[in-house]
Amino acid sequence: MTDAVHEVPGRASTHPRLTGTVRHVLLIAISFVMIYPILWMLSGSLRPADELFGGDAGLMPSQVTLQAYSDGWFGLQVTFGRFFANSLIIAVLATVGNVLAASLVAFAFARLKFSGQKFWFALMLGTLMLPYHVTLIPQYVMFRSLGWVNTWWPLILPKYFAVDAFFIFLMVQFFRGIPRELDDAARMDGCSPWRIYRKIILPLSMPVLATAAIFSFIWTWEDFFGPLIYISEMSQYTVQLGLRSFIDSSGTSSWNELFAMSLLSLVPIFLIFLFFQRLLIEGIATTGMKR
């Protein structure tokens, strides 16, 4: 897949050099506008507290200081280190659950035969459309009666039951693309479905598993609504909740600290973006994931 294939000659023949330059200028301008807010936040986080206000849209601080990072880190009763650790544990456990459960279920739909298969598959697709608000309140009531409010269970456990049908769908699509002859041969050799899943399908599905894992991690990391409802004790907060508390407790004077912590909360996602950009973009392009 090289880009040259998609060159459209009709247009390019007029003024190739000129239109090319214009296009680049346009795109660079858009890129700049897109990134500017984030750079502004970075610059704000590096300024001394008294410099942030008074309406400066520029990017250059008069003086660079990391004060906001250290002040912000310890700005609440519980340090941001704790919030990061909490978020990390929750996101990793949720990711493991999503990948594990979704791949098992997807294997059943894509590779096994059982009665009612079409029916269940249709139901599964149906749940894709269902907004989670419908199950929110009864789930809350249920977790509450289990004594799980203010624990991480409600944020993690459902993932082990493949509630996010999206990942199942994603994997079913991929598994169906793996040649059937491989399983047939294995079955002839007396392989159990478990061995086929474990030894054939999984190793061949690394790209889709990785994609699912990455998205699962990012979504859990960014989730605000779930922790907002279920977690009330500050020592159990995720980064997103910590940030929200920070907005409350910091006055107009410490916006630079708020910016610093906000920026830090984006770092894991940014790193994933740097290293797995290709997978992310392919994941979206092939499945049309929401973001």
Binding site: L76, V92, L93, V96, N150, T151, Q236, S245
Partner: protein, 430 residues
């Protein structure tokens, strides 16, 4: 893809290893020992600094007790407290407001403190009035943290610069609006106006109603005013907005009931309306010297102001360490060591003993507050009946309707009608 493959396998392995260990004991549900206290309050930076200081002192004296505290803005506080109470994991130590006390007490969310009276809680010398104001159906539900009265805070220098005198104790409502309009004429500060927009301030609205013999709520829990009253109230502020006497609606909309968001603090107004306990926090945030006086009066009218328990410290029904929490409450409101650190931030202490004890340590601003309470005391009327369930929602409604009038979405008259209609609907429903 090779790198991913290895990376993923490693990740998965690590994840599973991690999963097998902490899954069984994470979550704080089991960490709730009888000696741990979780507390929550609303308020700004200054209050957090003071409260955390007092907590540290308590911990020093009681090393076996662990305390986790959190503070937030007013709106957030009530939303979050409600969620936690519903979730069965309310904080042990709850900062309670007069407005919500009945609701929480009748729901069984906070526990009666009578059993601790005379033991962990030594607050008999607060006087019957200050105990009654924290009681529902004859039971005590909170320790009175301080006495409070509604006040007008002003940056007197800004007023003088504009060639005027700041509002004083006997300023009438008419004089007040005339003053504010005049301020604009003499004002030299570009972004500043005379006063914050008080139309969404329930405390001020209440004072205004009471000077006319009305009330926010009747004792039976229905509204104590009618659409015409509310309409006149909104019209009063609409006029001020028109004369540029008070800040524009989009400036007022940023106010979130915390000192940091007040138009007075951010330099957009020379006057704001706040409960007197906020004075020191405001003074800390403003370079100019502030003064405080009573709310405007009505000539020949009734006394509008009253002395209110600023806040109470309550204990949740579900608390597993009520005794320790009661001890902490006592430490904060009735032991000089703790009460000194809190100072006047939550109001003037009800206990005469504590008032004496903290006097020498008071800042200039603190002395002004004590002075204010004693000056306003002759002007006060009786404590209004405790507000009905749904009063909190009615407060949110008043703010919204005041914004509708402020942004010219509805006329003052229409605003009055809407307020009364919707408030009545809320009160009927709850």
């Amino acid at each position: 893809m090779n790198t991913t493959l290895i990376g993923r396998r490693r990740l998965l392995g690590a994840g599973l290893a991690a999963a097998s260990l902490p899954l069984f004991d994470f979550g704080p549900a089991m960490a709730q020992q009888p000696n741990s206290i979780r507390m929550m309050w609303w308020g700004g930076d200054e209050r957090a600094r003071r409260t955390n200081g007092a907590i540290a002192l308590f911990k020093e004296a009681n090393p076996e007790v662990t305390i986790e505290s959190e503070s937030m803005g007013w709106d957030d506080y009530w939303a979050r407290l409600a969620t936690q109470v519903a979730g069965g994991n309310a904080p042990d130590f709850i900062q309670m407001d007069y407005r919500y006390m009945v609701e929480y007490a009748r729901r069984g969310a906070i526990r009666p403190l009578d059993e601790y009276l005379g033991k962990e809680l030594q607050i008999a010398d607060f006087g019957q009035v200050n105990l009654d104001s924290c009681s529902v159906d004859g039971k005590l539900y909170g320790g009175n943290v301080g006495i409070n009265a509604f006040a007008v805070f002003s940056d007197s220098a800004a007023w003088e610069e504009a060639g005027l005198e700041a509002p004083s104790y006997d300023t009438t409502w008419d004089e007040f609006s005339a003053k504010c309009a005049a301020f604009t004429a003499g004002n030299t500060r570009t972004r500043m106006r005379a006063t914050a927009d008080g139309s969404g301030q329930e405390g001020l609205f209440e004072v205004w109603l009471r000077t006319q013999g009305k009330a926010l709520f009747h004792p039976d829990g229905t509204l104590g005013y009618d659409a015409a009253d509310a309409g006149r109230w909104f019209a009063y502020w609409a006029d001020l907005r028109k004369s540029k006497g008070c800040v524009a609606a989009d400036v007022q909309a940023l106010y979130k009931n915390s000192p940091e968001t007040s138009p007075l603090v951010v330099g957009r107004a020379a006057t704001d309306f706040v409960w007197s306990n906020g004075f020191e926090s405001y003074q800390k945030l403003v370079a100019a010297e502030l003064s405080l006086v009573g709310a405007p009066v009505l000539e020949g009218g009734e006394p509008g102001q009253y002395l209110k328990p600023s806040q109470m410290f309550s204990i949740s029904e579900t608390s597993e360490s009520p005794v320790q929490t009661a001890r902490l409450i006592n430490f904060l409101i009735n032991e000089p060591a703790g009460a000194k650190i809190l100072g006047l931030d939550r109001g003037v202490p009800a206990s005469p003993k504590i008032r004496e004890a903290i006097k020498p340590d008071l800042s200039e601003a603190g002395r002004k507050v004590v002075d204010f309470i004693s000056k306003v005391t002759p002007q006060v009327g009786p404590l209004p009946p405790s507000p009905p369930q749904g009063a909190g929602e009615v407060n949110a409604l008043l703010i919204r309707i005041s914004q509708e009038v402020g942004f010219d979405v509805s006329t003052p008259e229409q605003g009055g009608v809407n307020l009364v209609d919707e408030a009545a609907a809320i009160l009927r429903r709850t």
